[in-house]
């Protein structure tokens, strides 16, 4: 799911009342786990709210709404935002350059891709691809490893990520799994290599 698709989505109680809408995503940790959402009011009450929605209180995140059991699950905005990380995969990455660890520039991040299940976390980026990818400068999706290095300057991905680039979201889930499996395989064989020192 593209992060932008979640913005403005209504927050609806199981009783069928819309109590807020999503303003922004609060990320935590290096892997870019979704810690929660800041909120705007609805309709006449538009504008930022003092309350926020912690991820633990999300009952369901669907195509059309974010469901919660009731209004009482909202927390103070400051409490939720305190858990956020400025760095990490979900931080302020839009516009950052993606570099492979072999030193090739792959493109610029235009969108954050989330996987949503029991937890929600950043699993990839949509990038305006560089020539190196041979995609004629089109937007493509690039999978992320479980952990990665991010700075304000660039974001470093393993060179193998290039092999798992996809053009659209269908099939991207499988690409992430295959990419991460490959990385684990490599780690495994590296640790078994004879004569290697830490």
């Amino acid at each position: 799911m593209r992060a932008r698709e979640i913005m403005k989505r209504p927050v609806v109680t199981l009783a069928g009342e819309d109590i807020a809408e999503i303003k922004d995503i609060v990320y935590a940790g290096e892997a870019g786990e979704v810690a929660g959402f800041t909120l705007n009011g609805r309709g006449l009450f538009a504008g930022p709210l003092k309350t926020a929605l912690p991820w633990s209180a999300v009952h369901g995140l669907g195509r059309d709404a974010v469901m919660v059991t009731g209004e009482d699950v909202l927390e103070e905005r400051t409490v939720v935002v305190e858990r956020s990380a400025r760095s990490g995969a979900g931080g302020d990455v839009l516009g950052s350059r993606v570099l492979t660890d072999s030193g090739t520039y792959l493109g610029e991040i235009v969108e954050v891709i989330l996987s949503v299940g029991e937890r929600a976390e950043v699993v990839g980026y949509e990038i305006d691809s560089s020539e190196a990818l041979g995609k004629d400068g089109r937007k493509v999706l690039i999978p992320l490893p479980d952990a990665l290095s991010v700075s304000g300057e660039a974001l470093m991905v393993p060179a193998a990520a290039v092999e798992f680039v996809t053009d659209d979201l269908s099939g991207f889930g499988a690409a992430i799994d295959a990419f991460r499996a490959r990385l684990r395989e490599n780690e495994g064989s590296a640790s078994q290599a004879p004569g290697q020192t830490a």
């Binding site: 609806v12 199981l14 069928g16 009342e17 819309d18 669907g62 059309d64 709404a65 469901m67």
Partner: protein, 144 residues
């Protein structure tokens, strides 16, 4: 029976055999998935609600009641369920997972018990027992 068929149906007094009102709306309690009251029009006076429990029968051709004495002014929970913000018909259906299933075009209920048996959208027929919330924004249903 569907709401669309039942809407506008005559409400007849069993004591005088005269039409004393017409059905104008339905209050559905999402916690029990039951029609708990009918909103009435063309009544003689302010009392424009009849509780399901006060009906003699919801018949094929008419709703029967003992007489106009059973009509009440809706209050409390019933008034909330009867207000226009809580009408089920025309409202979007959301699953508890946050997916939109379309707007409710009609409902089917058991005329004997008042149980809502189906919510009908353009593309789906949703079992009434999945109903969990009826709010001003949406009707919420559990996963099938």
């Amino acid at each position: 029976m569907r709401f669309s068929e039942a809407d506008g149906r005559k409400v007849v007094s069993t004591s005088t055999a005269t039409t004393i009102a017409k059905v104008a709306g339905f209050a559905v309690d999402p916690s029990t998935q039951q029609v708990v009251a009918l909103h009435l029009k063309k009544t003689d006076g302010d009392a424009d609600t009849v509780l399901w429990s006060a009906l003699t029968a919801f018949g094929v051709d008419a709703v029967t009641v003992a007489g106009p004495d059973v009509f009440v002014v809706a209050e409390g929970e019933t008034a909330v369920l009867l207000d226009k913000h809580h009408s089920v018909k025309g409202k979007r259906v959301l699953t508890e997972g946050g997916d939109d299933l379309g707007k409710v075009e009609d409902l089917e209920f058991d005329a004997g018990t008042g149980s809502v048996t189906l919510l009908i959208t353009k593309t789906e027929e949703i079992a009434g027992k999945r109903l969990t919330g009826v709010g001003s924004y949406a009707v919420v249903v559990r996963h099938a």
